[in-house]
Each structure stands twice: as C-alpha cells, then as structure tokens.
Symmetry: D2
Subunit: 342 residues, 4 copies
C-alpha cells in the first residue's frame, strides 16, 4: 500500500499558516498574476529558519478561494521548491480545497507531481455536508492520491459546522490523514476530549496556539503541537511556548500562555468568531502588514481591504501592538536565560 | 454604455432549471468527461418546444460546484448553441458561480464569447458575505462583463442567509441585474413585500412555482413569472399555472396552485429546507429520473446517489407519483377545454 | 364529554390582541398593582364596539411574563366581565402561559371559574420542547380543563422554533384546540400549506393581518380570519380588510392589503423578526401610545421603555404615521362608498 | 451599604447542584404537594457531611420552572433550615429565576426572610435579553434585596445564548454578584479568558467539574472551584479532584480529570448540548436514580420521564456505570494513600 512520507508521529511543535503574498496588484480585478513569488520564498525561508516545525498554506487566509488556478500552481510550486531545498521531508501541507472531489484530486495530483509531502484539505462547502459525506470525501481523495499526507482543515464557519466525533473515528482509519487543524469552537472541553479519544493517537488534533496550553496540561504528549496563524506576525512567542511546553516547564508555560491570550484579547477572533470569519482574509492581511514580519500585500476580490469596518481595524492594530510588546518580552527573557546559562 | 440584450421587462412566465445530464460514468471519481451532451441538447429542446419562457442552468442542482471547468464549458456551449438555434435572444442564464470574483468574470467572458445572453450568479460562499461585499461583488462582475444579463441566484442554504433588502435596493441600480431566483424562505410575506418595493420594478423577483400564486394574487404584473425546478419532471402543470394566471383566471389558478402544492407535500423541500439542502443534488436527480421527462444520470462526487437516506427516497417517489397524477389531470383538463372551444 | 362553548367554526374575522394597560407606576420595580383597570374596560369596550370578532390577551405584548399573579387575575377578571356583558359566548382567549403544566392548569381553572370562554396558550419555554412534549402538554391541559377553548400561541422567538406539522396533526384530535395564532415565519408558503392540510379544518390557523390576503386568495373559507396586534393602533384598516375579503371583493382587498403592508414597511417586525422579538413589549407599547386608540402606559420590568434603541423608536413612529394616513384613507373610502350607496 | 454575608473570596471548592426530590406523585398532573422534604433534608445533609463547599438549587435540573410557588417555598425552607443547622454562613444559593424582575424580587425577599445567604439567578427567558437588559436586571434585583449574594446562572440553552463579556464587566461592579455557574460552551478558551479578565477577580467564574482542570492549570487561584451536577451521583471523584488540585498536585489532578471526562464520554451532555438541554430534567433524574446517592423521584410535568428517548436512557446508564467504577477507584486510591500515610 502506498503511504505518505510522514505520519502523525512526525508532527509536533508549531504548524505555521502563512498567507499567499500579493504584489501591489493583488486587489485589482483585472490582474491574473498577483502572487509575489519573491516574498513567498523569503517568507517561507524565514519561517523555516526561525524554527517552524511544519507549514500549511492556502486555507482561508491563504486565499485558497480567491486565487486563480494558475496563481495557485505558481505559489504551490514556489513553496514546495523552497521547502524541499530546506528539507525534502519537511511536513508541508499545501491547501487544495475546492468545490468538489474531482477538482481536489486534480490539485492533489499536481502537488504530488511537484514533490509535495502533504495537503491541507477542507471539504466542499457549497452544501452542508453530512457525516457520511465527509467520511466518503476523505476516503476518496486519500485513495486517489495515497502518496500525500492529509491535514484536515476544520473551520466551523467556512465548512458549516463542526466535524462530528464519529467522523474523526472514521478518519482515524485512513492512514493518509495525519493531522487536523482543529477548530471545534477554539476551546478545550468535552468536544476536544471526545475527539481525541476517537482518533486513538492516529491523527494529531492540533489546537490554535492560544489554547494549546490547556490541552497540553492534561493530555501532554497526545497533543505535542499547535497551529498558529499569529506566528506570521513574528513567531518568537509561539516558538517560546513550544519550547517551554515540550520541556514540561509549566511555570514558564503559564506565563507565555497567558501573555499570548492577553495579546489576543483585542482581536475580534477571540471575541466573536462568526464576525471574524466574515472578514478573515482582510483581518489577517492587516495584522501581517502591521507586524512587519512579512509583506502580505492587498487581499484579493471579493474580499477587499476597504470593506473592513474601522473598529475592526483599530482593535486589530491594538492586538498587533500587544504582540510586538510580547515579542520583545520573549526576546528579553531568552537573552536573560542565555546570560544565566553562560 | 454596454447593456445586455434583455432587461427585466423581457422576463415573464416560467424560468426552467434543468440539471446537467450525466453519462453513466457521472459518479465515477476517475471520469473527467461526464456530461451527456446528447441528452443535454434533447432536454433543452424539449423545454423550449414545450414552452419554457426562460432557462437557467448550473445552480446547485445544475452542479455548478461539481463539474470540472472543461465539463462546464462543454455543457454551456451545448446549451447556448441549442438555445440560439431556437431564438438568439432567448433569456438563457448559464451559471457561473465560483469561489471568487475573478474566476467568475473569466467564466462570464467565456459565456459572452460563445454568444450567451445571461448568467445565473450566486455569490462566493467560502465566507459569509456582508451586505457591502455582496453589492461590490455584483457591481464588479457587471462592470467587467456588461454584455451579460444577470439573474441573481438566491439560496439561503448555499450562500449563507438571505439577501438583505438593502442589497436589493443597490442591485436595482445595476442595469445588468434583471432577475432574481428568489428564495427568501420559500414563502410570501413581509420580506417579499419589502424586497419587491426595494427593486422598484427594475428586477424581476421570481418566486418558486409552488408559491407564485400567492405573490401574483396581490402583486399581479409586478410578479409575472416564477422559477421552476419541478418543470423538469414534466412541465405541463407549471405551464398551465402560468397560462391561467397570466390570463387572470384566478378560479383555475386556485385549482392548479393547490394541486401543485399538494404534489409537493411529500417532498422534503416543502417540509424541511435545510435537510433538503444537504441532499439537493441527489434528490433532484432522483425525481428527474423517476419522472422520465429527461435522463439526468448519476450525480457527481462528493454527492453520491447512495448517500441519500431511504426515507428521502420514498418520500420523493411519492412526490413524483403525485406529480404524474397531476400531469394527467392537466392534460385531461386541457383536452376538455379544447373540446369546449371546438 | 365536556366541550368548550365555541369551536373552530365559530371563529372568523379579526382576532384582536390588545395589551395590558398600565398605570403610571407600570415601570416601577416596587409597584405591585400596576394594571389600569379603567383603561382595560374602556379599551375592550372600544374593540368590541368597533367590531373585533374575537379577542386574545396576555401573549408577549400582553405581558403574560411580567405581570404578577394578582395583577393577571385582576386584569383577566376585568376583561372577562366586560366581554361577558357584551356577549357571554364571545370568543375571548385569556393568556395563561407559564413555565409548567400545573401552573397553567391552575390559571385555566381560575379562568373557567370566572366564566371565560377560552385561553391563549403558548408552551413552557425554559427548555426547547420536542414535538412529543408539545403534544402531551396540550393534551394534558385540555383534559384538565375541558370547558375552555384553546387558542395555541405560536411564536417562534418566545417558544424556540416553529410548531412542527406533525404536532398540528395531533392537535387536530384535541377538540378544545380551536385556533392558532399562527406565526410560522410570517409568510405564506410551503409550511402554511402543509399545516393547513394537517389540521383538516378542525383548527383555525389565523395568520397576521398583513399577510392574510395571501392565504385567503388561495384557501378562501379555510382561512376566514386573521390575528392583529396593529388593530389596537386603530382598527379601521384591519376591519376594512376583513369586510372586503369576506365579501370576496378581491379588487378592494388588493388595495387594502398592499396599504397595510406599506404601513408596516418601516416597522422592524417586517424587516427583522428576531430583533423585533428582543424589544416586542416596548415596541408595541410605543406604537399604541403614539397611535392613541388606547392608553398602554409604560412597560413592566425588566423590559423598560428606556432600553429601546433610538432607531427603533423613529422607525416605529414612521410606521404609526403611515398607519394614521391609512386610517384616514379607509374612513374616506367608507364615506365615499356610503355616499354612493345613498 | 447593605452587603451579603459572603463574597467571592469565600467561594472555593465544589458547588454542588442537587435536584428537588419528588415524592411518588411527582409526575402527577393533579398533585400540588410533590416535594419529598424528608429526602431533601437527607440529601442536603449528605452533601454537607461528605464535603460540598457550596450548594445551589433550583436551576434547570432543580426544576425552578416546574415547581409551584408553594412547593418552592417548602423546598427552599427545608434546604435553608438544614444548611443553617450545619453552618449559618454556608454558601447556599437557592434558585429564584422567574419570568420577570418583580416576581424574582418577591422570591428573593422570601429567601432573605427565611435566612438564606444567596440566590441562584438566571434571567427571564420569555424574550432573548440584550446586554443592556441583562445588566439592568441584575442591578435591579441586587438593589432591591442587597442582603443576598447572587450566583449568576449561565445556561446558553435556557437563557438564549452566552452572557457577553461586556455584561461580565458590568456585573463586576455589583457587590452582590459573587459567582457565576459558568457555561459558555463548556470549554476553556478565548471566551473564558476574556470573561475572567472582565470580572477582575470580583466574581468567581466556576466552570463545570469536567473541565475545571483546564482552567486551573493556567489560572490557578483565580479559579479555585467548580460547579458539579454529577456530584449528586456520588461526590467522591469530584471532591478528590478538588483536593488534589487545590494542593497543586497536578500529576494526580491529571489522572482524576481524565477519568471524570472518561466517565462523561457516553453522556449526551458531552456530545450534544442542545440535545441534552431538551431532556435536561429527565436525564439528570435518570442518572441520580441509577447512581443511588439520593432518591430524586419522578420529574414533573411537562417533562415526563417517559418522553426520554431510549438511546438517551442507555447512554446515560453507561455513563452512570462508569461513574460507579470511578467512585470505587477513588475510594481505593484514598485507602491506599491513607495506608501509605500510616
């Protein structure tokens, strides 16, 4: 049986979710070549160099929905090439969500052929999917392109509700499914517990970095990593969280976990997820632009930057301000620790 | 200013919504050439010959979401060619809904270039759209391809909620927007009234055939038509409704309106729309297959026919049984009327 | 078998829904005797004298939820006495919705003992009720107090969703259930049709006056009446609608039906029902106060008048302005008709 | 300024939520004296003797909605008397949720007069409350009966949605509000973090025992307790959780926290909260009856035991079976520890 090059056991640490950088023409309706491939390469190198443990692209903020097919191919090729030069088996998941199974399979074949290791895969969202339809969908694509590892993209807004626990139980029987960008309400409780039992260790259920501490505090090695979109605002705090947690340094873990939550307090994602989801693409671009770790460029139609309400702009900028404070705190802390060691 | 060949005033009567016929391989994951073009031509001819006043394709049941780009082009070309041979200015709206503005514009340009009159257009549904985003989206596509008339595709399940009244007011200022496949809860009341006022006669708000009587009884010529998916189960009852209503024969209108509702009582669409929406494609195929007016073939992945629950199958077949009874009643009635006239 | 004094067949025309008038202390937390019994008597007499065909009290706007038990008894007694003096068998339905079956039965026994004909009855709303629980609830109360006719209070906001068609089918077997203040989305379509079939003529499904025309145009005598809260803003337009419709004067019916909808266009109830439901009590008081047909007095805690957002105040006042225009139009029309007759 | 006898600082450990025991006639429609006062006294004594740190009654499972006023008074009096004999300042919160502010105040005055320390208070739920209405409601009742401490009852099903963070910020300014039976989705994440910041330590936000570990692991002394309905199935596991957590024994805490979640896996509350909420009262009675720690008796109309679907019965019994296993495990563990100590 053909299997992917990586399995759940290969995944731990921070799975970074960078955007698809746009040239200045990103918001132009007439442009058909908007991907900034230079910035793409630079951004990916930065993440790899700074310590990302895995990378996933082309979810919602990665504009799977707004790229043309040719743009997606150009971006995917650039990312795969850059990552392969770093490490051919690096856990990289390129998004391939479309409106149907066959288009997704064609995208996956393209990815396989350019040497990709994995794919990030939400489900067709024209109609709400039943549990049985979800299971069949993932079985189909895994059987069609068994060489690719699959990271399931869970997003309750985009894909119309949670993935039921019974689906997780069924996905655990598909060897290609190695991870889930777990949403489930962005909190740790009954649902997370039940889903974790359902996958029996065969799939990594990675929570967002903001709440990873809660999951790790109880489940430890069963949840050895998290996903992070904020890492592209400057990854130091997220990597620090990873380093202290995986070292079971809970005292330091508490400090950094609380500070990361503090930095997110003003951001609408922490206060009203459905509202965040209406402006997901623009909000992420805005904070990446403000943070300066990479250059996102403008968002693509129909999600124009100028459709963002002003109060979302100001609360997002306050979030970025806090994040920059935290980055400095972490750098200072690391310097102090380093001094102590010496 | 470039304008479409048709306007709202050209639209009345029944707008039929046929499916995209599939060959036997329609449900095969590996097939990439599944459109039955012969059946497509035959089906379109039948609808034209039998009296459809306008036709729209590639909505949900028309599998806009599950066709590959090449299949869509082949289907669209066949439909446009067949319709043009009948009448070059016939109000035909080919679906071009995608996940973003630019892809939709590229599809619209293709349609324009093959001589299409109009486009059926839902909105990108990856994220829930705000009112302002909806307006901008329709403004953008109308400006980019001003030659095409636009029928707005309103589907509260697929596109995440109703189109707000303020959006209708704004759409009325776009000359390309000539009609709406109006959903809005599949009932006539406050919302329909307010939306009708908002468009000021510049856009046809066509309700489903089952409830057209309610709207026509109050608004008359302001609502001179309806959309109909059931027409593809055999159009006689829907055309009879049209003929008596537009002749202001309310007595006969009452009879046929009630019979059409009676025939839909067992169909899940009349009892639980969100549940219908989960199985839309399969349910429509099932009833078209059972009714025999055309040959739909199997539905395409991920919406496999075998995912349909058994109770939906049996209630749909009872619906078709009633529809066949009604078709005969209408034929008998027409024969009796014809005899009287003679 | 004990049966109520009235049945579905006794019900036609306009069922008016007046509020529970408050004295100046209506909004005082410390007051325990807030019902304005003089105004209650005057208001009921006006409605009876002006031509209401039936009356129902103590729904949401009638503040079933905010009256103390003693206030409710005082109000109910005053209403029953006033109505009995007019006509002992007049279809009067006093609200008795509580949080449980036993309290509701005790209220119903009180109503029976003071000579009431009927009861307006929503369901306990602490928890969302399943279909089976709804059926059992109405069976229980009907069996416990069989002398009272029951008008089922359907309100999708207050009682957490629609009443399923299967429940209507079961209610049709309870002889006490004679009518429904039908909500179901405030529109006529699939659901209304199916529910109407389910009750088989044994229960009146009265729609709101604004959309009665739609139902009457198709179903005629099966829907010989409507409910109306707006009637308490001055009932002339609603009574005129009744008079022309029941005379099958559809031409005049169209005129008045459209004008009634026009008058409701600014009112939030016609644009956003969930938002209306958050301010139901205050909005109704506001428009009654502004219309001047009766004196509602202030709303009771926790639904203070000053919690009403300003934009709801202004849109409601515009609604009342239109309603006053329409009242005059109707009076003029009646005068003109009367002149013609003479 | 009059203040309650207890403040947030007096609250830690386990807040138990026992039911209102019914005599055999609990399910009889004609009974008006259904509270089993002997079992009430016995049950309360057991909880106090076994180590409950605080007790709250008459929420949803405590049948605030289904008791008559006289039954509620009898039950409240019995509970207050039993608790006062144990400790006059014991943090006891008797439920007083009604459909309006004035009735709730009258209930609170009754509680104050019989010597109660506190009240458990959900909000009137006839209409969905806005944030401003919520704030005013709690301000009103606190001002009217300032002697009583208030535990806010948060239940997203019963009270139609979460309590917004801005409301928590306002409640922190009311000295009577000392605790919240926090629901918020039964998980620890963004919302819990933000709400905890909003109350600034002035209000205890107690999560359900199943997820307390997650909150305690990060926030420690800021979350020194939890609420527990399962404690009435036999409190040993919950008290063990408390003892090891408050001793900062995280290793043992992890064991018991996971076992408690394991025991809840089959229970519908952990898998589908809206479905649980439809049968809350019956499900809780069923598991208390099966567990045998106290005798709940039958649930009161309209929430009859026989309306419970069979699959909920069997999954609940499996949950109880696991709970009994866990109780024994905890007893064994305590015995082993005790042996070591000796």
């Amino acid at each position: 049986m053909t299997l992917p090059r990586i399995s759940a056991q290969d995944l731990k640490g921070v799975m970074a979710y960078p955007p698809t950088p746009a040239k200045d023409n990103g918001g132009d309706l007439s442009a058909r070549d908007t991907v900034d491939l230079d910035e793409t390469e630079r951004m990916i190198r930065s993440l790899l160099h700074d310590g990302a443990d895995s990378i996933a692209t082309n979810g919602t903020l990665g504009e799977m929905g707004t790229l043309t097919l040719d743009e997606w191919k150009a971006f995917a090729s650039a990312v795969v090439e850059t990552v392969r030069a770093f490490n051919p088996d690096f856990p990289l998941f390129i998004g391939a969500t479309t409106l149907n199974t066959r288009d997704t399979i064609d995208r996956m074949r393209f990815l396989r052929d350019i040497g990709a290791v994995g794919v990030l895969l939400g489900r067709p969202m024209w109609s709400e999917m039943t549990a049985k339809t979800m299971i069949r969908f993932y079985q189909d694509v895994a059987a069609a392109v068994p060489e690719l590892a699959i990271c399931v993209y869970d997003n309750t807004a985009a894909f119309r509700g949670v993935i039921p626990t019974e689906v997780y139980a069924a996905l655990a029987d598909i060897p290609q499914v190695v991870a889930v960008k777990y949403a489930g309400g962005a909190a740790i409780g009954f649902r997370y517990h039940n889903d974790l039992q359902a996958v029996q260790g065969k799939i990594r259920l990675f929570p967002i970095e903001c709440i990873w501490f809660f999951a790790y505090s109880l489940y430890g090695d069963q949840v050895p990593g998290c996903w992070s979109t904020t890492a592209t605002c400057g990854p130091e705090p997220v990597f620090y969280l990873r380093d202290v947690l995986l070292a079971n340094d809970f005292e330091e873990g508490r400090w950094i976990a609380e500070r990361i939550l503090w930095a997110h307090e003003p951001f609408i994602v922490s206060r009203d997820f459905p509202e965040f989801a209406r402006y997901n693409i623009q909000l992420e671009r805005l904070r990446y632009e403000a943070a300066g770790y990479m250059k996102p460029g403008p968002s693509r139609p129909p999600y124009y930057m100028d459709l963002l309400p002003q109060d979302h702009v100001s609360s997002t900028l306050e979030h970025v301000r806090r994040w920059q404070v935290l980055r400095q705190e972490v750098r200072d802390r690391l310097a102090a620790r380093s001094a102590v060691v010496q």
